[in-house]
């Protein structure tokens, strides 16, 4: 009886939260139609926006993978002074409001900024450019890849790496042939969440790069210029594609899990 009450209570609370997430999404689709949704994919502007959003998301995720996985590994395996401070720095973008992040990125990367000035001399400009979107996405996405990959690296015994070293593998080869394959799922999940966070960002991007227009900016401008129906159609189309990519990614993660465990 008590057991049933326990599960009934937890079930009810879980359903409430899931409903809280799903109902607004369903509400969004109640403002659109199937033809309306598909009309998005015949709209050149919308397709351009998607391309910019997803390409910027991929580039930022790829750069974060190269820079973030080594940091995640160091945080998972090594003990060093100041590790807590480094973890706090990693988590900073999570607590900074999106618009503040946008302002920080702008002030750092505009042509007179600390990093923007030398880079603009080298021909790399960030204001209203794809690189501007990429750096903003990187800033907000960094904690996701680092923290997820870190958790993955701590999920297997470091003795496996020691065995590899005792068999003649140096640190790099041990990392590539043992640590990385054993954390494929963690890294993949981290990359997917990082990409999703990037393509869903708005406030952090709009200050440095209103143009080229990304999906969240496009939806917002549709809302301001054309009202709810037009923005709901664009939002519905964007969400549909993002969810499809997310589901495929999750399936890939479970396949990776099976592969590494089989």
């Amino acid at each position: 009886m008590r057991k049933n009450l326990f599960f009934a209570t937890f079930f009810l609370l879980s359903v409430l939260l899931l409903a809280f997430i799903v109902i607004p999404i369903l509400v969004l689709y109640s403002f659109t139609s199937v033809t309306g949704l598909f009309s998005n994919f015949l709209n050149g502007d919308f397709l351009n926006v998607l391309e910019v959003t997803f390409v910027a998301g991929l580039i930022s995720t790829a750069i974060l993978a190269i820079l973030g996985i080594p940091l995640a590994y160091m945080m998972a395996r090594e003990h060093f002074p100041g590790k807590n401070i480094i973890q706090a720095i990693v988590d900073l973008p999570l607590v900074i409001p999106d618009t503040v992040a946008g302002l920080i990125i702008f002030l750092t990367f505009y042509s007179g900024g600390v990093l923007g000035a030398p880079l603009s001399h080298a021909g790399l400009n960030f204001v209203d450019t794809l690189p501007g979107i990429v750096v903003a996405m990187m800033f907000v996405g960094a904690p996701f890849i680092i923290n997820t990959a870190r958790a993955g690296f701590t999920s297997f015994d470091p003795k496996l790496e020691r065995v590899a070293m005792s068999l003649g593998a140096g640190r790099f080869r041990t990392f590539l042939s043992v640590s990385l394959p054993l954390n494929l799922e963690g890294i993949w999940n981290g990359l997917v969440i990082t990409w999703a966070k990037g393509v869903a960002s708005f406030g952090s991007i709009i200050i440095i790069a209103y143009f080229p227009v990304i999906a969240p900016t496009y939806i917002y401008s549709q809302f301001l210029l054309s009202g709810i129906p037009a923005s709901a159609v664009a939002a519905g189309g964007f969400l549909l594609i993002t969810l499809a990519i997310f589901i495929v990614s999750r399936l890939t993660a479970s396949r990776l899990t099976k592969w590494t465990r089989s």
């Binding site: 003795k159 496996l160 005792s166 068999l167 003649g168 394959p181 054993l182 465990r261 089989s262």
Partner: protein, 329 residues
């Protein structure tokens, strides 16, 4: 073994937080067991020898060559951990051949070497198997084959039989001993299990609190503990001060200090230089024996007695020879 294989440690020390290991001086030239309780520093010493931890002080030599600063991948030491640590993303064949990929060998040579050692270890039929599906004994064979296929001079085993229950452990030890004839290397085993330590090598060292407290032939090490702590660790129940011995009318070998009285030296056959009568305070049934706590004038002694022993009442007579007491530091 054609050449004399050896591992030597000279003044090795390492501090990890509150724990201090060493100084350790040790010469190993034949199959060797490092025995110690949890927290004694066995794993730290294992990792120092294997090269995963750099000592703060001291030097390590392998076959006469100093290897203190040498990277683990250059030491040519095989290691087998308690839970074998087989690579879960690789099958049996890939696990065994892992180390050969880092040597200048063709794919064909690697294949031949792997198949050769797999046949020798009787795991040839498991080559394509998932390592998760193997039994404890099979995992042990794969782990040993993986460590030995690269031809290490030293094989370090860290509690290799501890991951299973008592019955499985005995079986794994038996299997390991049957594989020993294939081991052309110096085997160093680290364990907390005394029975295992006794069975696996004739030379033993006891590591306790980060220091080597005893070192030598196994019967000497097990039979003649040098300190109170080691005597307790080795299971000596009766550790008596000289005052307690005097209270028992046993002349202590020296006027102060502590002495261990081995269980078998509490004689129930009427022999012994000092004959005593005590009251049995407590009986405890062990699997094959009965443990009794005997009170002799306030001094308590523990004695394990054959289960068939016939007690004649609440009191028991026994004898002790003072020259059979083991002096402890």
């Amino acid at each position: 073994m054609d050449e004399e294989l050896s591992v030597s440690l000279r003044g090795v020390e390492k501090t990890l937080g509150q724990f201090h290991l060493g100084p350790i001086d040790l010469d190993v030239k034949e199959p060797f067991v490092l025995l110690g309780p949890s927290g004694a520093g066995k794993t730290t010493l294992f990792e120092i020898i294997a090269g995963f931890i750099r000592p703060d002080k001291g030097k390590i030599y392998c076959n006469g060559e100093e290897i203190t600063g040498k990277k683990p991948e250059k030491r040519n030491l095989g290691i087998v951990y308690q839970d074998y640590q087989l690579f879960p993303h690789l099958n049996v064949m890939e696990n065994i051949g892992f180390g050969l990929k880092f040597r200048r060998m063709s794919g064909r040579e690697i294949d031949e070497r792997v198949r050769g050692i797999a046949e020798m270890f009787n795991i040839g039929h498991l080559m394509q198997h998932n390592v998760r599906s193997l039994s404890g004994g099979e995992k042990q064979r794969v782990a040993l084959a993986r460590a030995l296929v690269v031809g290490p001079k030293i094989l370090l085993l860290d509690e290799p039989f501890s991951a299973v229950d008592e019955e499985g452990r005995a079986k794994l030890r038996e299997e390991f001993n049957s594989l020993r004839k294939h081991l052309d290397c110096l085997v160093i085993l680290i364990t907390h299990n005394q029975e295992e330590a006794y069975e696996m090598a004739e030379k033993i060292a006891i590591l306790y609190g980060g220091r080597i407290m005893a070192h030598g032939e196994r019967d000497e090490v097990f039979g003649r503990p040098k300190t109170v702590k080691i005597a307790r660790f080795l299971g000596f129940k009766n550790i008596l001060s000289s005052k307690e011995l005097i209270a028992l009318n046993i002349e202590p070998p020296s006027s102060n200090g502590f002495f261990a009285l081995p269980n078998e030296k509490i004689r129930l056959d009427g022999t012994g230089g000092t004959l005593l009568r005590g009251t049995i305070e407590r009986y405890e049934s062990l699997r094959n024996q009965t443990k009794v706590v005997i009170n002799v004038g306030g001094v308590r002694l523990e004695k394990e007695i054959d289960r068939n022993f016939e007690f004649t009442g609440p009191e028991i007579d026994f004898g002790v020879n003072s020259n059979e007491l083991l002096p402890l530091e």
